[in-house]
Symmetry: C2
Subunit: 531 residues, 2 copies
């Protein structure tokens, strides 16, 4: 029996007697579950966002439409203080309508490719010969100068097909969840490596700019890169430059690997290949514009009403699909959690705020700016080179400067690992929150949300909170086919999202938001590590 | 020890003492393996066929190019009696250069689709509204009459995405190979079901013709069908009609499932969708032409030289990819087996012939015609309705009529299960060949070719031999990603073929062809079952 209890405690992620003191509002969890499971609107929200609004590249017309749609929908639910906040300036907007690449000779055939964001269109069809050229260093540019005019330049090496030896879609099993709980003591940071990374990053930025200028000056018709996944999946991001005044290069496409490889093999055989490229894409303006994130609230009541629990996901997406898993899923789950709380008549002590970020895909820009403006940050560097670097690679600029509202944030919860259901949460090494989270998860164990791990997870919008010592967290989610088919790909569309997973996730998030808003204390915090 | 021997015997597919009497030419197998593994040209052959020649729709210019290429390459290797044989008339040729579908409104976006074979092009871009319409019965046609003019008609229901819970690519493990050896005693044929199938087939043929006529008369701009696989894979075949004088309908495309579903959801939401379709496709002539298969030989020597061992694969393919696994792999393996035998100086007793069939994808047409002309068949029906049916659904027309050469065929071996290596062979219930095949496989067990099963396998060019009592066989091959990614899809390209598997296969085929050509007796035969 003793072993069973120890096993149960371990299973719940409990340490010592902490759980006994953490109140769980079982009545409210029951109401939340019922609203989430039986009167869900999460798929309606997801459908509107992915298929009515469509893809939402930051500062594109689609993104502006998404901001407006989110405000309208949340207004309609009776949420308070619905508004956008600007950050930036972010850069120019960009959108595309169509793109095609055809082989004209030796054998006419369509190739499947899509344009990288922030690269120019072709202004109608252009025709030229395919050539392979590596443009990774200044020496490469010098070597190719004068050789690429009127060409369509294939930038990458061919890549051998890798047979898929694992299922596309999977979920955590018990063993894997248990493994997730193991923490690896980190090695010391290596300042020399950090300096080297910073130097290389700056060189890369300079080279990208030089390359874009080179391509335009040389009269290259278009560039083509290989998709990073096989099986015809086109996975892409940005190219060119979003910044007014910076060279945007030439039309740049990402091509499905099998077609890319075929072109490369043809060139290796010295068999010339003539292509027609047509990219209908455009920058929506000539000046850098602010980006926008959207917010709404359920106001707190009483003494703690100026404190806030924030739940967030990024509203922006890439443009190859409709950003369904990345991250309309997160937006829909977070909006649904707000709707559920409103629907069950929640009157929280603290204000519950939803944040739908812009600019996540370009470096957590919306959330970083928001956190800096409202809660604090490190002084901006004055050196223009340092300004170009992400926070994690900059030289120290002084101590963290906290703003008064820094003391008012009870918790931030983020959802951005695709559309898989919540299996638990990462504490970011904040061991004190583990028994609290375990208690909140207990009434949701039966829908698979069980695991608390002290591991850190990164790469999304809880990081700006976490790095200034605010308790910011991201959930553990089932992987489904996020990293096999969907992430940043043309398959990131509604079909690949599982409705029941979003319903479950919304119930978990609403439960977490409610408890964080109701407990006597804000969530425990950790000392700040330098970024 | 006794158990080990029994296990070994079972593993080798041996029954009783038959093996002792089957001679194996170990010296020749060693030479074959060395040529196949260390001086392989199989990937050069595959590359030429898929990327220089390209896709090979029956009677397309690509197929004619493939016939000519095969003749030239086999001539170059010094094979004898290199020639084409005509069959048919097959119908008209068709080819396509390009195809695109764009959403114009509400949100401009490219959709991924490819045209079905033997359907017309659009003669430049056409624009129209997407509508959903079921056209599966005459009543459906009557109901839709007058409603579809200028529309782009989506013919299928949306289909829910099915997450991939198995690896894309796999190989037989020992357990599965053992399972393959289990034979299921068949149920009796049901004459009533056969009559019903025949009736339904004739109704379907009539309806297809009526539908093609209807679509053209009604002024439908194009039709769109959903691809049968998910994950953006476009899998297609033919539409319209290849026969001169029959209505070819209107441009017809197959669209990736996720895009198709998005259109259907838009229509369900009553959100009109305007599309632009551009299909550059054409029939290459106005009259039905003969199809062609290509043959070559290593002549036999001595008393048995008029007897023949045939190895075959189909040269034709669909047009979405380059027909690499289906069936350039088979063609390359069979050609490589001939090259290997020539290279090792094989002087067979019987003639070894390679047959590269046309029209396999349209119903084993090249091989059926060849077998009927050279070896025999059942009398052609006189009733025009019966003529439209495949042999398996026709009413009896009389006894099998054998031609003299029927007695001269020692064996036929076919390769058409993708590009996976050979793991064994199906005996088609011909139990007498099992110990012979097991003996021939023995020196190839170490490269994974081990299993003899009495099961029947169908759907490809050994069937015309098998059904008239000639010993025709197809190999067991590893599945790889043939039925997950590749079969008839736009991913059926060189990248998805594994070079080592083709090398292994060529060694096995050369070994089988050699032994079949050298043994004293032709392979044992089975009584003819009615078709």
């Amino acid at each position: 029996m003793k072993h069973c209890l120890i096993a149960l405690a371990a299973c719940l992620g409990l340490v010592g007697a902490a759980r006994a003191t953490e109140a769980v509002d079982h009545a409210m969890v029951g109401k939340i579950r019922q609203e989430a499971f039986h009167r869900s609107q999460v798929m309606q929200t997801l459908s509107q966002l992915t298929e009515d609004v469509g893809p939402r590249l930051t500062n594109s017309p689609g993104m502006a439409k998404a901001n407006a749609w989110a405000r309208e929908r949340m207004d309609g639910w009776g949420l308070s203080n619905v508004h956008d906040e600007a950050y930036g300036p972010f850069g120019r907007g960009w959108e595309f309508r169509n793109a095609s690449v055809e082989v004209l000779a030796p054998r006419p055939f369509p190739l499947h490719a899509l344009p990288k964001a922030w690269t120019p269109g072709t202004n109608g069809p252009v025709e030229g010969e395919a050539v392979a050229a590596t443009l990774k260093t200044q020496a490469d540019l010098d070597k190719q100068r004068g050789k690429l005019r009127g060409k369509i330049v294939f930038l990458d090496a061919a890549r051998e097909y890798k047979p898929g030896d694992k299922p596309d879609s999977d979920r955590y099993d018990d063993h894997e969840l248990e493994e997730l709980r193991a923490f690896t003591v980190p090695k010391d940071r290596d300042p020399a490596k950090r300096a080297k990374d910073a130097k290389e990053r700056l060189e890369q930025i300079a080279l990208t700019e030089a390359t874009n200028r080179f391509l335009a000056e040389e009269g290259v018709l278009a560039t083509v890169s290989i998709s990073t996944w096989d099986n015809g999946i086109i996975r892409l991001g940005g190219g060119g430059s979003r910044k007014a005044g910076e060279p945007a290069g030439v039309p740049a496409l990402t091509m499905m690997a099998e077609h890319y490889n075929a072109v490369m093999r043809s060139l290796e055989r010295k068999q010339p290949m003539r292509l027609r490229v047509n990219v209908d894409a455009r920058f929506t303006g000539d000046t850098d514009e602010m980006g926008h994130s959207t917010f709404a609230e359920i106001p707190g009541q009483g003494a703690l009403k100026d404190e806030v629990v924030i739940i967030g996901a990024h509203l922006d997406s890439w443009h190859a699909g409709t950003g369904a898993a990345d991250n309309a899923a997160g937006v829909s789950v977070m909006m649904e959690a707000m709707r559920i709380l409103k629907a069950v008549g929640a009157k929280p002590r603290r204000t519950i705020r939803i944040a739908l970020w812009g600019g996540e895909e370009q470096g957590l820009l919306g959330s970083s700016d928001y956190v800096t403006r409202h809660y604090g940050g490190w002084p901006e560097p004055t050196d223009p080179q340092q300004k170009k670097l992400p926070l994690s690679l900059r030289e120290p600029t002084g101590p963290l400067q906290r703003k008064p509202a820094h003391g008012k944030v009870a918790a931030y919860f983020n959802y951005d690992n695709g559309g898989g259901r919540i299996r638990g949460i990462y504490t970011q090494e904040n061991t004190a929150v583990a028994p609290i989270f375990a208690a909140w998860l207990a009434p949701l164990n039966d829908v698979g949300a069980t695991t608390v791990t002290h591991r850190n997870t990164g790469s999304t919008d809880h990081i700006p909170f976490d790095r200034i010592g605010l308790p910011g967290f991201q959930f553990i989610q089932d992987r489904l086919d996020y990293f096999s088919n969907v992430h940043h790909s043309h398959l990131d569309v509604l079909d690949h999202v599982v409705p029941e997973d979003l319903k479950q996730s919304a119930a978990v998030v609403a439960t977490f938001a409610w408890h964080a808003a109701m407990r006597d204390e804000k969530l425990p915090r950790m000392p700040v590590r330098e970024p």
